[in-house]
Amino acid sequence: MDEIIVLEQVNKFYGDEVVVQVLFDIDLSIKSGQFTAFIGPSGSGKSTLLNIIGLLEAPTSGKVSLDGQDISGLNKGEQASYRNEKIGFIFQFHYLLPEFTALENILIPHWIGKGKPPQEIVGRAMYLMERIGIEQYGGKYPHQLSGGQQQRVAIARSLINQPKIIFADEPTGNLDSKTSGMVMELLKEIVRENKTNLVMVTHDRDIAAGADRVIEIVDGRINCDFTAGRMGREKVRQELEHMACTFSSADDA
């Protein structure tokens, strides 16, 4: 499958009495095997776009296809199982379940979709933990872990069901820069290893510069769209430097 994500004429409106349009006729297609970063100021609609692609929100109009399947017509229950099977989520605030240990947190997506995980899946969880260097924390509860460790658990959790796409919304948003860099490297490596696609919303210029493709959303429209392969990473970095105002306003949020 060449194109993993295809959006056609996607519009999103909010509100009943005061109607606000958040996304305007978005057309977008993302190739398989890429790391795509969405950037843009707060309120630009980038998170809404990501949520629509991630089946967390429905577009008001337009068509969304993931992995060749039109997902616009799915009902809520079908969306939930689609999310469970095909999509892995990593959020800014880690969002581990505090009632469960790290290992249990990693296994929960499997548990939701297919019931009690067999030994094979537990083995996969152990492998993922080892791969991202948290194998000794499997029995610990989230509050016993540092932010970076928690985010690594979240990464392992997003991968347990071998999803087609990983959505990461500011995954390093509340990590210090050193930990942030480590987590990002790990994320990219493991995404590559697992042959999955990474779609990320970020405020971080350095992180965006590391993406294969950077899409800037401003006021609900695609403002800029660079592909690193074509332009070279340095050029992307330079372009991103010019968007400093965008980033600073985003950082204030």
Partner: protein
């Protein structure tokens, strides 16, 4: 509704996580259930005790001739109609009582059916006369109903010929003792001498004004060809009403009256008691339901972040709702179990207390229904209460949580 194992796992983790909350609500349910178990057992025991005292030593069903004038009996075609006459024979006494007896003997619910002869008379002593009820009985049937042997003050239970038993009230009024001979007059003015064989105390003043003799002697003494009534006791006193109706319909010419008909006031009193205890139970249940609903609503809010995550990861709305139903039911179930134990403890303690203090001893009735009914109701209302937060959980949009951190 298909439950998934992870729903249970998450529900129990949520409950374990909010341990003090969970323990408090389980205790709340337990106290409610305990109160109900105790209350129902107490009421039940009290009622049974009261009924036992009222009708334990009296017939549950009395088959007697109708008091009103009998209706003409249709015996055939129009020609004979002119000759129809009131059926006098069954008017004031039961003639064909052996036939009824045979029929009654075949009914399983009946413990005993005893033929009786009743009449009024006077004990004559010197210039005074004391009104008494004359009762002719057969043994051992009558003893099953009246428990004469058990309630003999002195003498023994061998009525026959002119040997009779008299009630303790008659004995006190007339000053007659066991072994004395006295003159008994019937309503027609004739009389005979009788010998007192024993004195009984049945606890009720009407019963203690009786002169008890053998059925045959009473029939000749009162000049009755048949008998006055057939008195019946049954296994289940509450079934007496229905059985009486059935018998009345079967027999036609005689009427069958149950103790319920004769004790309407007692019954309406008991019913009022039932109503008030049902109301107490209702309000206890209501408070359990509200308590669980509010605690679960709080848990649903506390856990909305977790629910958002779970939903993002593929938990559907029904599943999210079930997580709360499971929590509600589990708390209800645990509370009911603890409540049963507490209630039984309370009941035992009460019985021990009343016994050791020498107070009125009536057995509290602990039946399976008395225990299970409040427990099942509590568990059910806990599950119902869980629907409120369950709906909230189902309606939660994962985005709200993820956006707002």
């Amino acid at each position: 509704m298909r439950f998934n194992t992870y729903e249970f796992m998450i529900a129990y983790r949520f409950l374990l996580n909010g341990r003090s909350q969970t323990v408090l609500i389980i205790l709340g349910i337990a106290v409610g259930v305990a109160v109900q178990v105790f209350l129902i057992s107490l009421m039940d025991g009290l009622q049974r005790n009261l009924i036992q005292r009222t009708i334990g030593s009296s017939p549950h069903i009395t088959i007697a001739p109708p008091l009103s004038a009998p209706q003409p009996l249709g015996i055939g075609g129009g020609v004979i109609d002119d000759y129809q006459k009131p059926l006098k024979t069954e008017e004031s006494e039961i003639l064909s009582w052996q036939r009824y007896g045979e029929h009654l003997a075949g009914i399983k619910e009946i413990t005993v059916a005893a033929p009786m002869v009743n009449g009024n008379g006077y004990i004559e002593k010197g210039r005074s006369s004391f009104p008494v009820i004359i009762k002719g009985i057969t043994l051992p049937e009558a003893d099953v109903i009246y428990k004469l042997k058990k309630n003999l003050v002195n003498g023994d239970l061998r009525p026959g010929g002119n040997n009779v038993l008299i009630g303790v009230a008659s004995s006190e009024k007339s000053g007659l003792q066991t072994g004395d001979t006295f003159y008994l007059r019937n309503q027609k003015g004739t009389g005979d001498y009788f010998i007192i064989q024993g004195i009984f105390d049945l606890g009720a003043s009407a019963a203690n004004n009786m002169v008890v003799m053998s059925l045959d002697r009473a029939r000749t003494f009162l000049d009755i060809t048949g008998i006055s009534a057939i008195e019946i006791q049954v296994h289940d006193v509450f079934a007496a009403d229905g059985l009486a109706k059935e018998l009345g319909e079967n027999f036609g010419q005689v009427k069958a009256e149950s103790w319920q008909e004769r004790n309407k006031e007692l019954l309406s009193g008991l019913r009022a008691q039932d109503t008030s205890s049902a109301m107490i139970q209702f309000f206890v249940l209501l408070s359990i339901t509200l308590g669980i609903a509010s605690v679960l609503a709080i848990i649903a809010i506390q856990k909305s972040r977790q629910l958002g995550i779970l939903k993002a990861m593929g938990t559907n709305d029904k599943s999210a709702a079930r997580i709360f139903i499971i929590q509600g039911f589990s708390m209800g179930f645990a509370g009911a179990l603890v409540g049963i134990l507490l209630g039984l403890g309370l009941t035992e303690l009460f019985m021990f207390g009343t016994k050791s203090s020498g107070g009125p001893t009536y057995e509290l009735k602990i039946t399976l229904t008395n225990i299970l009914l409040p427990a099942v109701l509590a568990a059910a209302s806990a599950s119902v209460a869980a629907f409120v937060p369950a709906r909230r959980a189902a309606g939660l949009n994962p985005m709200e949580v993820i956006r707002n951190g």
